[in-house]
Amino acid sequence: MEKIFKGPAIFLDRNDINTDEIIPAKYLTEVTKEALQPYMLEDLKLEDFDPNGEKLKNARAIVTRENFGCGSSREHAPWVFEVNGVHTIIAQSYARIFRQNMFNGGMLAIELPKQEIDSLFELGKQGTVTLNVDVEAQIIHASVGGKESEFPFDISEFDKALVKAGGWVEFADARY
């Protein structure tokens, strides 16, 4: 599946959102990524958040806080985002396995300092924020109500190579 790093963002204002909240274990009996599609963030309890709402349905990126994706190693968590067209996550930090799983699937798990995350959340209060990530230039373009802002980000050479290759299987198969 081609990965697209632009579109409306949804803001999840909490630390430590875990893999059980992203995709509950009862759905781990599925053997295709597509079958996970209806269950994204089903068990996440958060003020102003509705797992069945339009906001999440339209989202193509997630902005969140610290230690996103902690808990299980289940790649079902990135997959449920992938099949729902959410290929970009921006957080202050991640759990290691979740972050690696995102890049292994050719998707983005971008880390920004707290101050920048706070700025993004402030933008989120002004209306629907549309993000456009330029991976090569390492810049997130954010627009809300006709106003544009830029957020430069760091990404390791390896993670960048994984996104370019389309994932770790492609990268490893060509090299080893």
Partner: protein, 426 residues
């Protein structure tokens, strides 16, 4: 500057460094279960690459839902079963021979000091108890591991956790690790290896060390790790006796992996555990931990003893010792899952199963089952479980259910009274 045990394992297994700081390691073990492997199998088939890098280094088990509970889980089991047969894996564990992966694989002697191990399961960090680098990974890493025998990691920093003092009677390694996680926080060890050392660890059995390392991931750690020593050699002896002239020789050989005295650590934490009380989790994160005395009296509906954290023979002995001659509260459902068939048989031989049944516990076959709310003890909304498992996320054991993490001793005492209880006061 000296090296840590993790540094040494990385150096000895380095296959490639495609970019600075990215280490691609050769793998000694790729472990598989039926939840995270089938998608990798299907993807390899779809790519026309349905191969395995080494059929002796890949081990597979059906453990999360077994025997299968419905069509979907039966299909998962069938996929991994047929794949294991197709590739003639030397070691595959199906119904009747299967058990919880992180108890079964060590018991079979598959994990050795200095090994690199991956599995599509976050609690793979358990195997660090043997002085191995063992990391939980996602399905894509698992897939590449199966196909190529390699996995990429950022070189991890190491956090040294010195555990000193004398544990009071009735305080166990589960209490120690809950306490450590409470101090570190759920992301205190992200991208780091937790190196457990000091007299408390040296006195621990392999079972207790596995409990310790099992929960490294709950602080975000890539791996928990202990120095391999006499205890390790003793445990592994039936599997390594052809390789070494004596246990002493094995211990000498293991020392090559020990962290150097001048090794570089990201952080050194020092715990004097002499006054540590049994610990219990509250709320929905494993770093929300209190002494049992502050939790006494909280009502529970179910008590679950088992899992990759605390389903081993020592754990069952501790719990049975408390349950012996007692019955569990009418308000409580007790469920015990010995983690492997060997442990189950041993518990039978020692009369422990009899004690569990006399007390009113339901004894299930070895499986991960209730821990993640997949089978064998799912909670209803609003219900509370006292559990010897490792994760208390909201809804973990069933939507709307709550989990309190604790040692087998505290869990057994809680079963007797129906409310959280300090086993030392029974």
């Amino acid at each position: 500057m000296g090296k840590t045990i993790a540094d040494k394992i990385f150096a000895s297994h380095l296959r490639d460094e495609p970019f600075e700081g990215t280490k691609v390691l050769n793998l000694d073990r790729v472990l598989c279960h039926e939840i995270t492997t089938p998608v990798a199998i299907a993807d390899l088939e779809w790519r026309g690459k349905d191969r395995v890098f080494d059929k002796s280094k890949i081990k597979a088990v059906i453990d999360h839902v077994t025997p299968s509970k419905d069509t979907k889980t039966a299909v998962q089991a069938k996929m991994i079963r047929e794949w294991a047969r197709r590739h003639e894996l030397e070691d595959f564990f199906d119904v009747g021979r299967n058990g919880v992966c992180h108890a079964l694989f060590p018991e079979k002697g598959y994990i050795r000091p200095g090994f690199t191990v991956i599995m599509g399961d976050s609690h793979t960090c358990t195997h660090g108890a043997f002085g191995a680098f063992a990391a939980g990974v996602g399905t894509t890493d698992l897939e590449v591991g199966i196909l190529k025998g390699v996995c990429a990691f950022r070189h991890p920093a190491t956090i040294r956790v010195n555990l000193r003092g004398n544990l009071k009677p009735g305080v166990y390694s589960k209490d120690v690790i809950l306490h450590v996680i409470g101090k570190l926080g759920v992301n205190g060890a992200t991208d780091a290896v937790l190196e457990f050392a000091g007299p408390v660890v040296e006195c621990m059995s392999m079972e207790a060390r596995m409990t310790l390392c099992n929960m490294a991931i709950e602080a975000g750690g890539t791996c928990g790790i202990c120095m391999p020593d006499e205890v390790t050699a003793e445990y592994l002896w039936p599997f390594i006796e052809d390789e070494y002239s004596s246990k002493k020789a094995a211990v000498e050989d293991f020392k090559q992996w020990h962290s150097d005295p001048d090794a570089e650590y990201k952080q050194i934490l020092d715990f004097d555990l002499s006054d540590l009380e049994p610990q219990v989790s509250y709320d929905y994160k494993p770093d929300c931990v209190k002494p049992v005395s502050e939790m006494v009296g909280a009502r529970v509906d179910q008590v679950y003893i088992g899992t990759c954290t605390n389903g081993r023979i020592e754990d069952l002995r501790v719990a049975a010792n408390i349950l012996d001659g007692r019955t569990i509260a009418d308000s409580v459902r007790g469920v015990v899952s010995p983690a492997t068939p060997k442990i189950f048989r041993q518990a039978l031989d020692e009369g422990l199963i009899d004690v569990f049944m006399q007390s009113g516990f339901c004894v299930t076959n070895p499986t991960c089952g209730a821990c993640l709310g997949m089978s064998n003890g799912v909670l209803a909304p609003g219900e509370v479980c006292a559990s010897t498992s490792n994760r208390n996320f909201n809804g973990r054991m069933g939507k709307g259910g709550m989990v309190h993490l604790m040692s087998p001793a505290t869990a057994a005492a809680t079963a007797v009274t129906g409310v959280i209880t300090d086993a030392r006061t029974l």
